[in-house]
């Protein structure tokens, strides 16, 4: 009490300190960092290229040469996992950013304008949420592929840029679209709820009565006071997007072979697991650990930002 130094600390410092004192969150944080390190520096860390085959040594268990064994085509499972991490990270980051922008945009308009516009936007949000997400994602995935492919073809014809011939990119664009279109509603709801509750606070009323304009209100009151739940939602959203990407690839509509994805590695192993369990165990356990890490980190950030709210 009375420690002036402590008082002068910013919200960010205090939240960071609380986060670092939470062991579970710290474990989650470390795992997430390791995941991103593998995703970014995969080409250096992976012992083999994820496409290079060694047919003589196909379907081997873990050994000195291949730490996690090899798959039916003689490719190193560990290297494929590393490249799967890259796929997951790219998809997770991009889709979270797209759906966050969409969600914040719609949520802010709804929260600010109220009345009929609010009712209409929330109706759209409710409807999007009530379509079973995966079914919608698969449908989007299956239907936007031909137009996107022809668009890329046209782009190649007009620009002669070989980047548009890359099917890897088409897959990614489609998966981005599908996942972003089903994950924006939760962000929109959170942002709208935050804005509605902060808007009614007395300090906002006081600021308005003293003649504060909209930019000042946004900068000083609305954004700082409503950012907490959004940060938590983004942390969990990245985990959710990784999950969705592997779900889509598991169902065969996501990132297409020969590109590596954890989901497709898991579904490929469905016919082989009785004889070669390592093919199933490795991706299954990795997906589980990553998901748990993101949940721990999200809960930790939540506790750090909202200390008043006891966890229930």
């Amino acid at each position: 009490m009375g420690d002036l130094k402590n008082k002068s600390k910013s919200l960010r410092d205090i939240a960071l300190k609380r986060l670092l004192n939470n062991y579970l969150a710290l474990v989650g944080f470390v795992i997430v960092i390791i995941f991103f390190v593998f995703a970014i520096f995969g080409t250096i860390l992976a012992p083999y290229d994820f496409l290079s085959q060694n047919i003589d040594r196909a379907l081997e268990g873990p050994s000195k040469d291949y730490i996690l064994g090899t798959d039916p085509m003689g490719r190193d499972v560990f290297s494929r996992m590393v490249f799967g991490a890259r796929t997951a990270a790219i998809v997770a980051f991009t889709t979270t950013i797209i759906s966050l922008i969409l969600g914040v945009f719609i949520g802010t308009i709804a929260g600010f304008s109220g009345g009929k516009i609010d009712a209409f936007l929330m109706w759209i949000t409710d409807i999007t949420m009530s379509v079973p997400g995966l079914l919608l994602a698969i449908l989007i995935n299956a239907t936007i592929k031909p137009p996107i492919s022809s668009l890329f073809d046209a782009l190649y014809q007009s620009t002669e840029n070989t980047i548009f011939l890359n099917t890897y990119m088409i897959d990614f664009v489609i998966v981005f679209g599908a996942i972003a279109l089903i994950s924006w509603p939760s962000y929109a709801r959170i942002v709208r709820g935050q804005i509605l509750s902060v808007k009614q606070q007395i300090y906002v009323e006081a600021a308005v009565s003293m003649g504060a304009n909209l930019t000042h209100l946004m900068k000083r009151h609305l954004i700082p006071n409503s950012i907490g739940p959004v940060v938590v939602a983004v942390t969990q959203g990245i985990g959710g997007a990784i999950l969705l990407e592997s779900s889509l690839s598991f169902l065969g509509v996501g990132v297409q072979p020969p590109n590596a994805s954890w989901g497709s590695m898991l579904s490929d192993s469905l016919t082989l697991w009785r004889s070669f369990p390592h093919l199933m165990i490795v991706p299954a356990i990795t997906i589980g650990i990553i998901q748990i890490a993101f949940i721990f980190l999200g809960d930790g950030i939540n506790d750090a930002l909202n200390p008043k709210q006891t966890r229930r």
Binding site: W123, D126, I127, S130, V131, P132, G133, L134, L135, L136, I138, L139, I140, A142, T143, I144, K145, P146, P147, L243, S246, S247, F250, L251, G252, V253, G263, L266, S267, S269, L270, W273, R274, P277, M280, I281, A284, I285, I287, G288, Q291, I292, F294, I295, D299, R312
Partner: protein, 315 residues
């Protein structure tokens, strides 16, 4: 009250119409040509494909009409109980869906019962031991289970029960609900949905426990058993009903994976097959049924809540 229900029904049915419009438009403008796909699968290559043949076949299904006309015709037919004919199997879609949906509903229903029987008491036990080791271990297990996706728990359980503890034959396929094959699929669904109901039960129990009238009940000397059963349990369990909508979404989503992993010929497997076959009427029907299930459960939750909570007058 009737007004309230009427508004809700209008809200959800216009929503359903919008969903159908958007998915029909996506297929009309985006999806591959279903007839071409059908011929391709039959012939194996494009060499013998004849455009006039494709066109006449398209005419038979009315696929050459403008979008609005096609969509109008589709909606009127659906309202009259004719959900179209599958391009692929040439059978009425409604006839195809019924047995598949019945299988999935049996699975989902059994899983919901198991989930409620396990989840609600566990939530109550956790809340009564708030912040003690029992509570923490239940919640810890649940958070961990919640984090692991269905398509991971499924294969791991398969591996475990067939290779490590070989007490089961390969639990594949479908032989009716009264069969040992359904144990693992139901277990997987329960694992993925139980966290929703358990957390909700625990949270609302904890909330009610701190209410003033509970303290009054204790203060006037009621036994602990009576306080819990009469004063806490009843109001605490009503919000649990609201999580039904969430459970339904998880069930429909989870069915896709569970049926794929365990090779069950249910609704989820059919919808994936339909999308791979570019079978428009079947895809539309799976979207229709999937959305209808979720929206209907939302509507039911709204109406139940209206009766339970008089504060929601005209939402």
């Amino acid at each position: 009250m009737l007004n309230f229900i009427f508004i809700r029904i209008i809200r959800w049915s216009t929503g359903l119409l919008l969903v159908l419009l958007v998915s029909y438009a996506m297929m009309f403008y985006g999806g591959g040509d279903p007839i071409k796909q059908m011929f391709l699968d039959e012939l194996g290559n494009t060499q013998y494909l004849d455009q006039t043949m494709i066109d006449s076949e398209r005419d038979k299904f009315g696929l050459n009409d403008p979008f609005i006309i096609q969509f109008k015709r589709y909606i009127f037919n659906v309202l009259q109980g004719d959900w179209g004919t599958s391009f692929r199997s040439q059978r009425p879609v409604l006839e195809m869906i019924k047995p598949r949906l019945w299988i999935s509903m049996q699975l989902g229903f059994a899983a919901t019962i198991v989930m409620a029987i396990l989840g609600i008491p566990l939530g109550i036990i956790a809340s009564l031991n708030h912040n003690k080791w029992l509570d923490l271990s239940i919640i810890g297990t649940i958070i961990t289970l919640n984090a692991i996706p269905v398509f991971v728990t499924g294969p791991i359980l398969l591996l475990f029960f067939v290779l490590v503890v070989p007490i089961m034959n390969v639990p594949y396929g479908w032989d009716g609900i009264l069969n040992t094959q359904v144990i693992l699929p139901i277990a997987v669904i329960v694992i993925s949905t139980i966290p929703i109901i358990l957390r909700q039960t625990r949270a609302s129990m904890l909330e009610i426990m701190n209410e003033d009238y509970v303290r009054t009940a204790r203060a006037k000397g009621l036994s602990e058993k009576k306080v819990i059963l009469k004063h806490i349990l009843k109001p605490a369990l009503t919000p649990v009903i609201t999580s039904l909508g969430l459970v339904m979404i998880t069930l429909v989503n989870g069915a896709l994976f569970v049926e794929l992993i365990f090779n069950i010929p249910g609704f989820g497997k059919m919808s994936i097959d339909a999308i791979w076959d570019v079978d428009h009427p079947l895809i539309m029907s799976t979207v229709l049924v999937g959305t209808l299930i979720v929206m209907f459960s939302n509507l039911v939750v709204d109406i139940i809540y209206f009766f339970l909570d008089p504060r929601i007058a005209d939402g």
